[in-house]
Symmetry: D2
Amino acid sequence: MTDSDDPIILLTTGGTIDKLYFDALSEYQIGESILPRLFAMARVTQPFEIEEVLRKDSLELSDADRALIAARVAAAPSSRIVITHGTDTMTETARALADIPGKTIVLVGALAPARFVESDATFNLGMAFATAQVAPPGVYITMNGTVFRADQVVKDRERGAFVKTR
Amino acid sequence: MTDSDDPIILLTTGGTIDKLYFDALSEYQIGESILPRLFAMARVTQPFEIEEVLRKDSLELSDADRALIAARVAAAPSSRIVITHGTDTMTETARALADIPGKTIVLVGALAPARFVESDATFNLGMAFATAQVAPPGVYITMNGTVFRADQVVKDRERGAFVKTR
Amino acid sequence: MTDSDDPIILLTTGGTIDKLYFDALSEYQIGESILPRLFAMARVTQPFEIEEVLRKDSLELSDADRALIAARVAAAPSSRIVITHGTDTMTETARALADIPGKTIVLVGALAPARFVESDATFNLGMAFATAQVAPPGVYITMNGTVFRADQVVKDRERGAFVKTR
Amino acid sequence: MTDSDDPIILLTTGGTIDKLYFDALSEYQIGESILPRLFAMARVTQPFEIEEVLRKDSLELSDADRALIAARVAAAPSSRIVITHGTDTMTETARALADIPGKTIVLVGALAPARFVESDATFNLGMAFATAQVAPPGVYITMNGTVFRADQVVKDRERGAFVKTR
C-alpha cells in the first residue's frame, strides 16, 4: 500500500453526485458538496482534506477547466488524490491527468445524486478512497463496483454504465 | 491490480452491519443480509457472489466458527474474498485467515447497522470491494476510512474506532 | 372522524414528489410513483387504493387537466380522497374541486423529491392521509406542517412555503 | 379545525422511535430525540415546541411515569398535544389521559426507529401533527396509517399492528 503521511486530498468538480433540487427555481443545480457529511457518516478517521475546484456538469467542462483540474492535482501536497466529477466526460479529464507522475489519482462520481436514498455515491466514494490508499501511481476510475485503469474504460451512455475497453 | 476473471466472493458472517429491529421481540437480531440490495443500489456490474456463512455477533464467535470461516475462504473458487463481520473480534478472525495463500481477503463491518440512514456500512463495503480488486494477496480490514493490513490494526473499543498498531 | 368503510383513494398527478433523475438524459422527469413503497414502509393497514391520473409538473397543467382531476375525484367511489400534486399550482386545482360535495379532499405534494433522504414528502403524506380520515368534507392542503383549508392558503414561491391568507 | 394560536406541543417519552445503537455498549438505547431534525426536514413552519419528558421503553413505564405524562399534558399551555411513546403500552397511557378536558391529545410511535431508512416514524408523525390540528378534543393514536380513537384500539403484538376494537 502507498503508506503516506500526507492527507488524502479530495477535489470536487461537480457532477451528478452533488446535484440538489432548488424548488424556487423549479430546477436542479450542483450545490455545496455533500462530501464532508458523507465522510462524517462513514466515521473516517484517516486524515483528508476536501477542496472545491468547480461546480459543473461534466458535459460543460472546457479544456481550460480540465487544465485547471490537472494543475490542482499536480500542485496538491499529497501523492493520493480523489476527484469527484460528472460521469459523462470523466475519461476526458483522465487523459489530461495521465502525465502527472508519482500520484495515485482516482476519479469518481455517481449516476444518482448522493442526496437520494438509493444512490451509488457513497459506495463509489468508499471505493475511490480505498483505491487512493492501495493502488500504485496512475489514474483510475471507480464506478459500477469496479476499479478501472482510466485508460481502459469508457462510459456506455445507453446502458448508463462504465465498461472495460481492453 | 489483481486482474481476475473469477467473481469476487462475499461471505456474510453477521455483525452490526446486518442488525434488524424485530418489534414483536422488542429486540435487535441479525437478519437476512442487506448486501444484495446495497450492491444493486451501488449499480455494481462487476461479477460477484454473496454467500451466508453465519449470523452472529462477533463477540459470540467460537474457535469452531472462525475455523469454518477460514475453511470457506480457502475453498472459495476465487482469489478475491470480502467477509462481512462484527467489528469487535475482526482481528481475531483475521489471524485465523493469515496462512491462506494466494488470496486477497478483506474483512469489513460497520459501527451502525446498514439499515440506518447514517451508517458507515455502504462506504466501508465500497472500500472493501475496491481493496479486493487492487491489493496484493493478504488479509486486510477496511474500517474508519482506512485500508489496514489486518496484522497492523486493533479496535479501540472506547473510541469506537480502528487504529493502526505499527 | 369520518368513519367510512370505503378505502381512501390516492390520485397521483405528478409534481416534485415523484421526480426521478434519469442519467441517460442528464435530466429529471416525473417517474413511476413512489407512493406504494412509502405506504408499505409506513406499515399502513388502513385500506387504500393508488391510481395514476397524470405525470406532470404543476406548472404544465392545463384547464383540461384540472377538469380531468376534478372528474376523477367526483367519480371516485369514496368520500376520502388524497391527491399528490406539484406545489406551484396546487391552489388552482383546489378551486376546480371546490364544488364537489360530500368528500374530504386533500391536496399534498413536496418541496423535495420523495426519493431524497431529506424530503418533506413522507411527513406531508402522513398529514394528508390523517386529514382525509378526520376532517369534514371540503378541500384541504397539507404542506409545511400545516393543515390548510385550500381557500385560505397561497404558495409564497420566494420563501418556498405555503402561508395562510386569512 | 381547531384554529389555535398556541404552538402545538410535542412531548417525547421514549420508545422505539428514538432508539439508537451504541457500538461501545453493543446495545440499543433510547437517545436524544430525533424529532427536531425530522421537523426541519419536513419544512414545518407551523409553531411547535418539543419537550422531553422521559426516555423509556414503554414496557418500563410505571404508574408514576404515566401520572407524570398526564400532569405534563394537563399543564401544557396548549390545546393541541402530540406525545411520542413506545407502542407496547400506548393504550395504557391513553387511559391515564382520558379525563383531561379541552385538549386534542395524539399518541404516536413507530415500529422501527426513526433513524432507519425504512421506518414508519416520519409518516406517523405527519399523521399525528395533522390530527392535532383537525380532530376535536379527545385522545387519539395514529399508527399503521390510521387515526384511532384511543379507547377503540389495541396493539396486536403478534401481528405487530394496531387494530380497531369496535
